[in-house]
C-alpha cells in the first residue's frame, strides 16, 4: 500500500535509480568505507598521490579481471590466469634477450603467447566440450611446467625492457600513471565491445541461455574461443605490465592474481553463472580488492593473519551482495 502513495513522484527518479545496479552501488560504498578505515591508520591514505599509486598497481589486476569478466559473462571461468600472466611476463623478457629486434617486439610476443594459451582453452571448452573449470586448470599446470622447463637448464634473460618499465611505472601524460591510461583504454574498448558489437551481445546471450543463442543462429563456439583468446591476451599483458613494474619476470609471479581476478569480477556484480554484469562493476571490484590489500599491508600484521583477513573479507563482501539475485517474473 505504501507503493500506492509513492506512485506519482518517482516517475523521473525511478528509471535513474533502477539503472544503478545495487551490487555496483554497494561496491563503491565499500570502497568509501575502506578509504575511511585506511585513513584511520595513515593520513596519507586519502592523498591523490597514494590513490594514483594504488590504481597503478590495480591496473595489473584489472587486465586479468577484464579477461576473466568476459569469460565469466559467457558462463565459463578461466583458471589459467596465474600462469598465463607468468608466461606473458617471462616470454616477453626472454624475447628482449634476442637483441634490439627482440626488445622491440617483446610485448607483442608476450601477448601472443597468452593468446595461444587462450586459444587452447577456447578450443577445449567450445569444441571438445570440457568444462572450463577443469580444462583451464589443466592449461595452467601445463603453462607452469613449460615455464619451469625453460628456466631449468639455461637462465634466460628476465629483465624487463625499457618500454615495459615505462608502460608500468612511467607518468608521461598529465602526471597520471601510464598504467592508468592503459586501463582506461582497455576499459573503454571493453565497454564498447560488450555493448556495441555483435560479439558482446552474443557473449551475454550465451551466458543467459547457450541453447537459445545457438538456435538463434549465433556461432556460439567461435564466440567462446574468441572470449578465451581475449582472456589469455589480457592476462599475459597484465603479466607484461607486472614484469615492467617489478623490473623482472619470475616464476609464480601471477600466483597471487587468481582469487583477486575472480573476486573483482563477482564483487562487481557480474553473475558467476554468466549473462549479467557490467564493466563498471569490475572496475569497482578491482579498486576494492586493491585497496583491501593495501590496507592490510599498512596494518603491519603477520602475513598469515593478513591472508586470513583477506580471504574472510572477500567472503564477507560476497555474502553482503554477491549472491545471485532471484529473477523477478
Amino acid at each position: 500500500m505504501s507503493q500506492d502513495q509513492a506512485k506519482p513522484a518517482p516517475f523521473r527518479l525511478a528509471p535513474v535509480l533502477r539503472s544503478i545496479d545495487p551490487a555496483i552501488a554497494t561496491a563503491f560504498a565499500c570502497i568509501v568505507a575502506l578509504l575511511l578505515v585506511g585513513s584511520l591508520y595513515s593520513s596519507n591514505f586519502l592523498s591523490a598521490d597514494y590513490l594514483l599509486q594504488q590504481i597503478q598497481v590495480g591496473s595489473f589486476l584489472a587486465m586479468a579481471a577484464t579477461g576473466m569478466m568476459i569469460v565469466v559473462l559467457l558462463g565459463q571461468i578461466d583458471l589459467s590466469v596465474p600462469w598465463v600472466m607468468t608466461v606473458g611476463a617471462m616470454m616477453s623478457t626472454a624475447a628482449a634477450g634476442w637483441g634490439p629486434v627482440g626488445s622491440w617486439c617483446a610485448i607483442p610476443i608476450g601477448i601472443l603467447c597468452g593468446m595461444l594459451f587462450g586459444l587452447v582453452n577456447g578450443i577445449g571448452v567450445a569444441y571438445l566440450r570440457v568444462p572450463s573449470m577443469i580444462f583451464t586448470l589443466g592449461t595452467n599446470a601445463v603453462a607452469q611446467g613449460l615455464m619451469i622447463m625453460r628456466t631449468g637448464g639455461a637462465a634466460p634473460q628476465d629483465m624487463a625492457t625499457a618500454a615495459m618499465r615505462t608502460l608500468a611505472t612511467g607518468r608521461v601524460v598529465a602526471d597520471i600513471p601510464n598504467a592508468l591510461w592503459i586501463w582506461m583504454l582497455i576499459g573503454v574498448s571493453t565497454v564498447f565491445l560488450l555493448r556495441r558489437t555483435t560479439f558482446g551481445r552474443s557473449v551475454y546471450a550465451i551466458g543467459n541461455s547457450e541453447r537459445a543463442a545457438y538456435l538463434s543462429g549465433s556461432r556460439t563456439r567461435r564466440i567462446t574461443v574468441l572470449a578465451f583468446v581475449m582472456s589469455g591476451a589480457l592476462s599475459a599483458f597484465g603479466g607484461v605490465l607486472l614484469a615492467g613494474y617489478s623490473t623482472k619476470a619470475y616464476q609464480g609471479m601471477g600466483d597471487p592474481y587468481l582469487l583477486p581476478a575472480i573476486a573483482a569480477v563477482v564483487l562487481g556484480g557480474t553473475s558467476i553463472l554468466g549473462g549479467r554484469g557490467t564493466y563498471l562493476g569490475t572496475v569497482a571490484g578491482v579498486i576494492l580488492i586493491t585497496l583491501l590489500q593495501s590496507i592490510l599491508s599498512i596494518m603491519q600484521i603477520d602475513e598469515s593473519i593478513r591472508q586470513i583477513v583477506y580471504g574472510l573479507t572477500i567472503i564477507l563482501m560476497l555474502l553482503l551482495y554477491g549472491r545471485s539475485a532471484i529473477l523477478r517474473t
Partner: protein, 517 residues
C-alpha cells in the same frame, strides 16, 4: 452461488509488480467436490492468483480463508501443508532424477533414515496408475520422457501429496488428446472424492466437459462468475478478451498450384530410430501442418531440417538444389533463409533476463551491424517495427523479456525471426499455453506471411489449429509420415483417426480418444 460455505475463499486480492498491476481486488471461492474453471487471457492475472493461493507470492492486500478461518501462506510449504497443491505451467521436475525420485522429492518413504527405494518404487507405480500414466516406468529418468509424459508425472507427483485443493495451471497444454482423456477421468474421480479443483486451461472443450463453476479474469479482476453451461462459447470468449469474437482462423486461399516448385524439400530424412525415411515438400505460400500423437518425431523433423541434429541422413533441397545445413547459423543464411520457432520459449526461444530489444534483434543482428558493430539506429527502427507489427505489449524495449506475459513472450520469439525476413518458417507448437487473443493474431500473421510467399511448416498439438490454418497436414507416426490429409479430408475425426489407426500394436491401441463435439 447458493452453495454452502466455500472451502477456500480469496477476497479483495491485489498484487503489483513494479508499476504493473497483476491483480486488482480479485476474489475467488472454491467449493469441495466441485471443479472450478478459471478463464482469461495470458496476463489476466490467473497465474498470479494461483501463486498467491499456493504461497509462492504474497498479496499486497486482501484476505485468504480456508475452511472459514483466515489463513496466510508465507511460503509454498505452508500452502502444501494446508492441502493446496499446484501443478504449475512450468514443469517442476528435475530431469536427471528418476520418475519415482521426482514424485517423492519432498517426502520420500524412509527406512532406518534412508530412502526406501523399494517402497518408493511401489508407491510411485500406484500414484502413476492413479494419474492415468501406468505406461511410465518409475525408474526412468525424467529427461528421457517426452513432454506429455512428464506432465503426467507432474500430476502423479501432485496427487502423491494428497491435496484437498488441487490447482492445475495449463496442465494439459502439452498433452495429446488421448492423455487429456485420461486426465479428465482422473479429475472427475477426484471431484467425487470431495476435492476442490481449480482448473486453468485454454482448451474450451475440456472446460465444458469438466467445470461446475467458471470464473473469468480480465486485467487482474474477476469479471464474471457463473455456473458452467450458462454462457455460450461466444459470450465466454467475448468476456475474456473484452472484444467481439468472430472468425478465429483467417479464410484459406485456394491451394497453391501443384506445379509451383517447392522451396523446401526433404528426401529420405532418417535420424537414429526417431525419423524414418521422411520425404516432404513445401511450396512458397503454403502452410503445411505436422500432426499426429505427441512425440512421433515431429520435433526431431523440424530440428533435422534446421541442421541441429548430428548424423541425419537423407537430402534437404532448397529451391531444388541440395544443401548441407550445418546448424542454425547456416540455416538462417540468406541463401536458405530458414527460421525455427522452438518449442520451449523460456529456454530455447528467449534469453529471459535480457531486454526485449536484445532478444528481438538477436537473430537478425548480422544484418543490423557492419563489421561486427551494431548500428543502434537501425536496430531501434527494426525493433520498433516488430513491436508494432505484432502488437507486442511491453513497458518498454529495455525491460527484461521475462516481465512480459506468456503470449507476448511468444510474439517476441516469432518477431525476432521475422526481423530477418525468412523464406521458410518452421514452427514447433507455437501456441502452447497462450491465450485466445494472441493465438488469433498468430494465425492471422501466419496467413499474411504465406500470402507473401513464405513457406511454413507448422507442428501443433492442437487439432483445431491444424485444420484451421493448414492446407495440408502430414500425420507422423513413429518417425514416419503415416498419412497426408488435404482439403476436405482435413477434419478432426480424420486427424485423430490417422494418428491412431496406424497405432494398432502400441500402448495407445484400443484407447478411444474423446473427440470434441
Amino acid at each position: 452461488m447458493d452453495a454452502p460455505v466455500p472451502l477456500f475463499a480469496m477476497t479483495g486480492i491485489s498484487k503489483r509488480y513494479g508499476g504493473v498491476k497483476a491483480l486488482d481486488k480479485a476474489s475467488l471461492a472454491l467449493h469441495a467436490g466441485r471443479i472450478h474453471a478459471l478463464l482469461g487471457e495470458n496476463g489476466a492475472g490467473k497465474s498470479t492468483l494461483i501463486k498467491i493461493m499456493s504461497g509462492v507470492v504474497q498479496p499486497d492486500e486482501g484476505s485468504l480463508e480456508f475452511d472459514g478461518r483466515a489463513v496466510r501462506f508465507p511460503a509454498p510449504a505452508a500452502a502444501n501443508d494446508a492441502g493446496i497443491v499446484c501443478i504449475f505451467q512450468e514443469l517442476s521436475l528435475i530431469p536427471d532424477l528418476s520418475v519415482a525420485d521426482n514424485i517423492f522429492i519432498a517426502m520420500p518413504p524412509r527406512r532406518f533414515g534412508l530412502i526406501d527405494r523399494k517402497t518408493q518404487r511401489r508407491m510411485a507405480e500406484e500414484w502413476l496408475a492413479l494419474a492415468g500414466a501406468e505406461d511410465v516406468h518409475p525408474l526412468a529418468p525424467v529427461k528421457d520422457l517426452p513432454l506429455s509424459r512428464r506432465q503426467m508425472v507432474e500430476i502423479a507427483k501432485a496427487l502423491a501429496r494428497r491435496p484437498r485443493i488441487l490447482i492445475l495451471d495449463e496442465a494439459t497444454s502439452a498433452l495429446t488428446a488421448a492423455d487429456v482423456g485420461k486426465i479428465l477421468a482422473v479429475l472427475k474421480r477426484l471431484r467425487s472424492e470431495g476435492l476442490a479443483l481449480l482448473y486453468i486451461s485454454h482448451r474450451m472443450q475440456e472446460i465444458e466437459e469438466l467445470a461446475d463453476d467458471c470464473t473469468i479474469f480480465r486485467n487482474g479482476c474477476n469479471v464474471a462468475s457463473y455456473p458452467a453451461g450458462t454462457k455460450s462459447h461466444g459470450e465466454v470468449v467475448e468476456l475474456m478478451i473484452g472484444r467481439e469474437y468472430s472468425h478465429v482462423f483467417p479464410p484459406k486461399p485456394p491451394p497453391v498450384q501443384a506445379a509451383t516448385p517447392p522451396i523446401l524439400e526433404a528426401r529420405g530424412l532418417t535420424w537414429t530410430n526417431r525419423l524414418r525415411d521422411i520425404s516432404l515438400a513445401v511450396r512458397p505460400g503454403e502452410i503445411v501442418g505436422l500432426g499426429g500423437l505427441d512425440g512421433q518425431g515431429q520435433r526431431e523433423l523440424l530440428l533435422a531440417l534446421f541442421g541441429v541434429l548430428r548424423g541425419v541422413t537423407g537430402e534437404i533441397r532448397i529451391e531444388g538444389s541440395p544443401v548441407a545445413i550445418g546448424g542454425p547459423s547456416a540455416a538462417k543464411a540468406a541463401r536458405i533463409g530458414m527460421a525455427l520457432i522452438p518449442e520451449d520459449r523460456k529456454t530455447e526461444g528467449l534469453m529471459l533476463p535480457m531486454s526485449v530489444r536484445d532478444n528481438l534483434s538477436f537473430a537478425a543482428l548480422g544484418g543490423l551491424s557492419t563489421g561486427g558493430f551494431i548500428d543502434r539506429t537501425a536496430e531501434a527502427r527494426a525493433v520498433d517495427e516488430m513491436l508494432r507489427l505484432l502488437a507486442i505489449k511491453t513497458e518498454g524495449i529495455d525491460v527484461p523479456v521475462a516481465t512480459l506475459s506468456g503470449g507476448n513472450q511468444q510474439k517476441v520469439v516469432i518477431a525476432k525471426w521475422l526481423m530477418m525476413a525468412p523464406r521458410i518458417i518452421l514452427l514447433n507448437d507455437p501456441t502452447r499455453g497462450i491465450d485466445v487473443g494472441t493465438k488469433q493474431e498468430i494465425y492471422q500473421l501466419l496467413r499474411q506471411l504465406a500470402d507473401r510467399g513464405v513457406a511454413i511448416l507448422f507442428y501443433s498439438t492442437d487439432y483445431d489449429e491444424l485444420i484451421g490454418c493448414c492446407e495440408r497436414v502430414l500425420v507422423l507416426y513413429d518417425g514416419r509420415i503415416g498419412r497426408e490429409l488435404a482439403g476436405n479430408e482435413l477434419t478432426e475425426r480424420a486427424l485423430v483417426g490417422s494418428a491412431l489407426n496406424i497405432a494398432t500394436d502400441t500402448e495407445e491401441a484400443g484407447y478411444a480418444p474423446a473427440i470434441g463435439a
